[in-house]
Symmetry: C2
Subunit: 118 residues, 2 copies
DNA sequence: ACAAGTACTTACAATTACGTAAGTGCTCCT
DNA sequence: AGGAGCACTTACGTAATTGTAAGTACTTGT
């Protein structure tokens, strides 16, 4: 999205640059409990392609949100986990998630339905 | 970004659908204090084109975040303001913004610089 | 020998978001 | 009469993001 050209007054732009990929929130969410291998992550995020998963992991790594640990074994074993910054991001994101549940598109559709139904 | 096809376990996807446009955070931020007219908004968000501003306002309106009040005058006068949901979103977004200031790309670059310089 | 799994990697196509430029009908100002 | 401002609206083009399909080198299981 490359929002960095804008002179955002606060860090919001920077945060959105990090988390606003189509699959990134899901990836971070899956990692919040324990480290996961590439294949596990692929299975836990249904619909994502290997290429995209890999790309977004690289970006999250570059942004200091996930840590990549290569065990240098054969067959390959690589574990992805959240850095402290990643864990903090996961926390910071909870307020947004709650807003989504309460006011987001789906929630509003539900509310409208409830209103019309009775 | 159309994340809605994904079965997000929480409302995060919904929230990001609403706020993740390139200019949307800035727009919402500008509206947090007082209602603004289209032209005011355009001047307060330098770099945005009329088309994009209009599009993103429409989406924010459809998502229940901003309210559009047409005074039905001539020359036209239209005021945009935050709905209660919009105000809540603005609040929810603060945690993210703070994360950005502390851990975001720019902040990390700064930190790295400070480390190498002194 | 052959299929399947590991974690990537490449080339290319499709989709989506964003941007540029111009036009609409109206009124006020000079 | 000419220009500027209001709030849009349209047509079209570019750039970014995501997706599809296949291939790499290696090992394990049948």
């Amino acid at each position: 999205m490359t929002r960095t050209t804008q002179g955002e007054t606060c860090g919001l732009g920077a945060a959105l640059d990090v988390i606003a990929g189509k699959w990134k929130p899901t990836i971070v969410w899956q990692l919040h409990a324990r480290p996961l291998r590439f294949g596990e992550l692929r299975r836990l995020v249904p619909g994502i392609s290997e290429k995209i998963l890999f790309e977004q992991l690289r970006q999250l790594e570059a942004d200091g949100v996930v840590h990549r640990r290569d065990h240098a074994e054969v067959p390959p074993r690589v574990e992805y986990s959240l850095t402290p910054a990643g864990a903090a991001l996961n926390t910071a994101v909870h307020a947004l998630a709650e807003w989504g549940t309460r006011h987001g598109r789906a929630a509003r559709a539900q509310a409208a339905l409830a209103e019309s139904t009775g």
